[in-house]
Every structure is written in structure tokens, then in C-alpha cells.
Symmetry: C2
Subunit: 276 residues, 2 copies
């Protein structure tokens, strides 16, 4: 079946992150459509809105379908210009703000850029400190400072430790270290000594053999390191280590970095602090 | 004025990222309220929903105000249990899915975890490659490979290059390198030689003197490096270098990493690819 194409606009006064995140989660619920995406961040005056309006009308004419427009526009005049175009508009603020005002008995501030703005200097420092911690403790570096970690991810090479640590630091301000399990450790079913005293902070990452093989083959094609035999051996060993030592772990084969991070926070009871 | 407290629940079948993004962007529009936030990700069966329902009712009794609930729940039975509680519910899918179905003339898939799931193996590899690129080219490392960068951020120490590069890699799959401008470069108003051939990829980050002083003081209190005089000298020099060499740049003093990243992508015309 060939997919048919529809165009979607993300319009925002500021970064567009909210409009994109929300629109994306709705559109992924519809199969068989090839989405052409046009993001217009920083749409903050009427002249720019008129240009976008013309663009919307051109797309509608060309495709024979009006575009979908997801908006977090706060300026009512800008929004009005867009509404005059040939589109189906979904405005996140207009939809929800009124009932929230009613519930809270107070008007909203109508200030753009609040959700991704730099409002809390303190939380900015905490976030930067977390990122620095992650960078300074990647791949088993400086294990003496592991006591300061909020969490320490463990797993074999290419199990996804580094991207997950970075996401935890950037998105949630979590001081996440990671430590690689290597074939050198495989002679035993005991934890590497450096991890023994921080056992309660450990969380394991594993994945299936085919996926590990595929990821390692990207890095070093046809190597022993990437071979199915080696991948299977390392995975079987690390999973039995996790069992033996009672370390919680997660199979990441079919999930994204966002999901891995959210699951880890939930399972370890770590407080989520949203910056993004 | 003391803030009064209200409680908000973020309920989701999966990670909760969409529900949190939605709620956060709306609630930051209301001043004078201290929000107590309770995130419940992976709320995927009726038994769990009953526990949350009890919790909602307890909060409502205790605070004398019903909690606000932002939901991206897809399971109608789970949602129904929550609706029976003493809360004001804002359900994201229920609100928007019907009009989109109508517009597209097709039903939605009702599949949890699509928006942050691992749907595209190819884009997973691209994302990991971007993160690896960022890590391998932080702080001026391996400038010989700058030709492969999508963008190269330049600026003095603590101008925010590293967190911005990481965010560009993680969130947008952008191969972002960065190169520090140091006091050693300050004898001239010419670009460091290694940057001359990649001038069209450069983007400068600057900030105001007080903020740089405050950030550097966190790192090395009372040092010459953190002194107001030194901060001012370096900022003045780098801004005149950006002018002289016609390098686009941004004052990041009052904006977040998310905003810096979105502005850079827009101003350099880089294609945004959303993963989060």
C-alpha cells in the first residue's frame, strides 16, 4: 500500500518544542500517511503570520487537502491570521487554557516562552552540573566518585549506557554514571570490585542478540567483537550476573532512549524534574 | 504574597513525556501557585488506576481543591476509573483524536508508546551516530573532522557550548562540534586557523558579563578566570571577533538550552528531526 501524503505545520511563538511533541504523539496514532512536516518556530508577528498563511493555502491547493496545523501561538492577532487560512487548526492553549482558568479562578499570563524558558537559575546550575557529571563519569571513568551518582548504569559494550546517561542528565538533571562490563570480567559471576560498595545504585541494560550484533557490526563489521557467538556469550553472562547479584535490569531492544530513561527513574524511585 | 498549593497528576500508559510537556506548558502560564507534581507513568491496568484514584481523592480531601489531571491514557477502562475520581481531567487524546480522525477520514490506532517508541531503526542509528560525533568533538577535539559537522559552536569557556551540542545531538540528531575561544587567541582578531575552512558552519555563543562571572565563580571561586574584568575582556573580544568575521551569534543570557538549540537550527536552516 502506498502512503498518501499530508502536510502538517507546527506553529509557535517560541521554540516549537511543545507543539512538535504534542502533534507528533497524535499523528503517530494514524497509519498509512506520509507526513510532510513544516516547523515554524518564533512566529511572533503578523507579517510573518501572513507569509505562513500564504504557504498554508498553497499547500492546500497543491495537495487537494487542507494541512493540519498544530499551534501553541499565544498572540491572538497572529493566531487569527492563521485561522483565516485553508487549514484545520488544533490550538493547544486555546483548547485547554479556558477550562484551567475556570478551575483555578484566575486568568493566565499570556507570556510566550515560559515552558522552555530559563526561569530558575538554580535548576539551570543543577542541570549543567548533572551534564558535567555524566561527561566526567562515562565508560567507567573516575569510579572513585561513584558514591555521588544518582544512578550507575552497567552493561556490555553497545548496550546503550552512554546515550541513556546523557538523556538522564539533560532531561532530568540526574547525575548518571556508567560502567562497562567487559569480556575480561567474564571469568567470574561476581561484580567488578569497584561496583561492590555502590551496588544499590546499579541498573543493568541488556538487549537481544540480533540487535547487539547489528549495532556492533555498524561499528566494527565482521569482527569477533560483533559476531553472533560473542554477542550471545556476553549477553548470557551479563544477564546471569544481574540475576546472581540481584541487580534490576531492562531489555532495551524495542524501546527508545526516552522510554528507557523513564522506566529507570520509575523503577529506582528517582524524582523526575522536567526541564525540556 | 505566599503561593497557594495545588496538586497536578500526569497520567500515561507509557513514559509520561507527552502528558508532562502538555501540562508543564499550560501550568507555567499561571502565577502564584506552588505546584505539587505527581507523575504516574506506565499506568496500564485497572488495578493500578484504582490505586491512583484513591490517591487523587485523598489529595482533594486534604487540600480542599480537586487536583488537575493531565492524561495521555489510551485504555478507555483505565481512563474511566480516573474519571470517577474527584479531579478535573484534561485528556489529551480524547480532546484531539476525534477531530483528527474526522479530518483524515480514518480511525486512530490506539497503540500506546508510539510517540516515544523505537519505530525507525535507521533514525536510531542516526541519533546514536550524532551523539557519538558530539562526544568525540567536544571542546575542540579532532578539528580535522570538522568538515563532517552539521554545525560548529564557538565561544569562550562556560558560554554553553557543550550542553547545547549534546542537546542538538540527542534531540535532533545533529552532528554538532564545538571549539573553545581562549585568552591565547585574544592577541588577534582573526579566527583560529583550524576554523578558517569551516567558517560557514560556525555559530557563536555569548552571554552577559554578570552571568558569565556567576557561572565561572561556581567553578573556580575568586579566580582571575572568574573575575568580572576577565569576563568582560573575553566577551568584548569574542563579540568583536564575531562581527569582524561575520559569524552569526546569539546572546544566551536569558534563554534555555532548548531555546538556544531551536534558534540555531532556525537561523542556520538545519532540518529538525524530532525524536523525543
Amino acid at each position: 500500500m502506498t502512503k498518501h501524503q499530508r502536510t502538517v505545520f507546527y506553529l509557535s511563538d517560541r521554540t516549537g518544542i511543545t507543539a512538535e511533541t504534542l502533534g507528533h504523539s497524535l499523528l503517530t496514532q494514524f497509519d498509512g500517511i506520509q507526513w510532510e512536516i513544516i516547523s515554524v518556530p518564533f512566529l511572533d508577528d503578523i507579517e510573518k503570520a501572513k507569509v505562513v498563511s500564504v504557504q498554508i493555502n498553497q499547500v492546500a491547493d497543491r495537495e487537494g487537502n487542507r494541512p493540519l496545523v498544530f499551534s501553541t501561538l499565544l498572540n491572538p492577532e497572529v493566531l487569527e491570521v492563521i485561522k483565516q487560512s485553508n487549514c484545520r487548526i488544533f490550538d493547544f492553549f486555546e483548547t485547554f487554557i479556558c477550562p484551567i482558568e475556570e478551575e483555578l479562578h484566575q486568568p493566565f499570563a499570556r507570556m510566550a516562552g515560559r515552558s522552555h524558558g530559563l526561569q530558575h537559575h538554580l535548576s539551570y546550575f543543577k542541570r549543567i552540573a548533572a551534564i558535567n557529571y555524566v561527561l566526567a563519569h562515562d565508560d567507567g571513568v573516575s569510579p572513585k566518585q561513584f558514591a555521588e551518582a544518582d544512578i550507575i548504569l552497567v552493561g556490555i559494550s553497545r548496550s546503550g549506557k552512554t546515550p541513556t546517561c546523557l538523556y538522564l542528565g539533560l532531561q532530568y538533571g540526574i547525575a548518571a554514571a556508567n560502567y562497562p562490563l567487559t569480556p575480561d570480567d567474564m571469568h567470574t559471576k561476581a561484580l567488578p570490585p569497584v561496583l561492590v560498595n555502590v551496588k544499590n545504585k546499579l541498573f543493568g541494560l541488556t538487549l537481544n542478540v540480533a540487535q547487539l550484533h547489528s549495532i556492533r557490526s555498524e561499528r566494527r563489521p565482521n569482527s569477533q567483537y560483533a559476531s553472533l557467538v560473542q554477542c550471545e556469550k556476553e549477553i548470557r553472562w551479563q544477564e546471569s550476573l544481574f540475576h546472581e547479584c540481584n541487580i534490576p535490569y531492562l531489555d532495551t531492544t524495542h524501546i527508545s532512549i526516552e522510554e528507557i530513561s523513564a522506566i529507570i527513574l520509575t523503577r529506582r524511585g528517582l524524582r523526575r524534574q522536567l526541564y525540556g
